[in-house]
Amino acid sequence: MTAAGSLHEQRHSLLVRVAHWVMALAILIMIGSGWRIYNNWPILPFSFPVWLTIGGDPDLSYAQHNESGTANAIAWHFAGMWLLFASFALYLLNGLLSGHFRRDFLPLTPRAFVRDFTAALRFRLEHRLGEYNAVQRAFYWGVLFAIGMMVASGLAIWKPVQLWWLAALLGGFDFARVVHFFFMAAIVGFLVVHLALVALVPRTLRAMLLGRASEPAHPAVLAEGVD
């Protein structure tokens, strides 16, 4: 993906961009509605601020439906689910069949990861547009795995009888809820880092929106001035 000569270029196919943005929307819906559902029966000693959740105005819902908006949140969750299924499947299939994963996310060795991760911690990791370093590659594999686990644990919670084997594989109904929460937190963590890095290298946003972006080939160092 790196252009020969004096330019680094990033390209994203239309398919990747559509899958990315639909998945982004779906994940926001799933997290927002999921937090409202969580609030109804928290498994940890805290609740999410209602204004950060999806499910309508709780007071209005009390007045109209005698419940706090869980019904609405569940309706959002099980609608967003289809968006997530579709975009995730599209992204995976395209990534596997087009060679995108093999070309851009591989190879990934522990040695390269340690090298790049250490460099990142010292703010000395270079970012070349169109080329993913080992930390980025690990992050993308990680978030894909996390989304896969969200789908699996979500199905186990939704259908602990019809898909009893899946629930059993994930440690039973109650533990599947914990798994579901854990990978939600992992995805939120990914989003924070992902968005922070986009803010640092805004050209990547341009590439994900318009399909391509480029920069001169003398690489910038992230967060210059930090030693």
Binding site: L52, I54, G55, G56, N72, F78
Partner: protein, 247 residues
């Protein structure tokens, strides 16, 4: 759902005023987070969500197997306390008189003569130790004993080709299930739980216990049972919860 939640906490006017205040505050969050409590309350959005919910009913009906049994557990797994849950306090649960109770039958049923508790108790019974899963997210393992609903439906000459079995309860609760779930071997008219005869709060004289559905689809103190091809609503279903609610 929310046993602790009072029905209406404040007068409606008060409620509406608060709502406007709250909404003003919420719109900021909605803008930044794309979440939108305001968006969620719009009619168009609600209609779209309802359409997807109906689609999900069909997906769930397709996923449902009439022969796949819910996992069962050993006696040692039974919860020490069965969680009480309704939209009113446990003391307000209807107390049914043993001698006066009659189960009324209606709809596509051959013999609609009402049934007394003694008659019901004379039917064959089975026991199950299964997990009760609430839509709120909690669950517990409990033991229930009673007559398979399919046995009773046969006894009263119900039309097994009909689509739905509906119920109305003594507390005003109402709802319905699909016929395949009604005929599932673990769907039982439970007269007793681990502690013996069902306590009023748990649904005396019987609750319809089905481990293949979320808890709120399991009605207590059933007053009327009917068979129909027209899909009935339900207490929580009419308040936005998914109709099929299979697990």
């Amino acid at each position: 759902m929310g046993a602790a939640k009072p029905t209406f906490r404040r007068p409606l006017v008060d409620e509406v005023q608060r709502r406007h205040l709250l909404r003003g505050g919420l719109s900021l969050g909605a803008l930044t987070m794309l979440t939108g409590c305001d968006v969620s309350d719009e009619d168009g959005v609600q209609r779209a969500l309802h359409a997807v919910s109906r689609w999900n009913d069909r997906v769930q009906a397709a996923l449902f197997s009439g022969t796949r049994l819910a996992p069962t557990y050993p006696e040692s797994a039974i919860a020490t306390v069965y969680r009480y849950n309704a939209y009113y306090a446990a003391e307000d649960a209807p107390e049914i008189g043993e001698s006066t109770y009659r189960l009324e039958l209606a709809g596509m049923i051959g013999d609609k003569r009402p049934w007394s508790i003694a008659q019901l108790h004379a039917l064959p019974q089975v026991s199950q130790i299964t997990r009760h899963v609430c839509v709120e997210g909690w669950s517990y393992v409990g033991k229930w004993t009673g007559t398979p609903l399919s046995v009773f439906l046969d006894r009263i000459g119900a039309d097994r080709t009909a689509k739905y079995v509906g119920y109305e309860c003594f507390d005003g609760y109402y709802g319905a299930i699909d016929m395949p779930t009604a005929l599932h071997p673990q769907t039982i008219m439970a007269f007793s739980d681990r502690d013996g005869r069902l306590a009023p709060r748990y649904g005396y004289p019987f609750k319809i216990r089905m481990p293949t559905k979320l808890g709120f689809k399991n009605p207590k103190f059933v007053k009327v049972l009917y068979v129909t091809n027209r899909r009935p609503g339900g207490f929580w279903e009419d308040r936005g919860y998914n109709w099929f609610s299979g697990i």
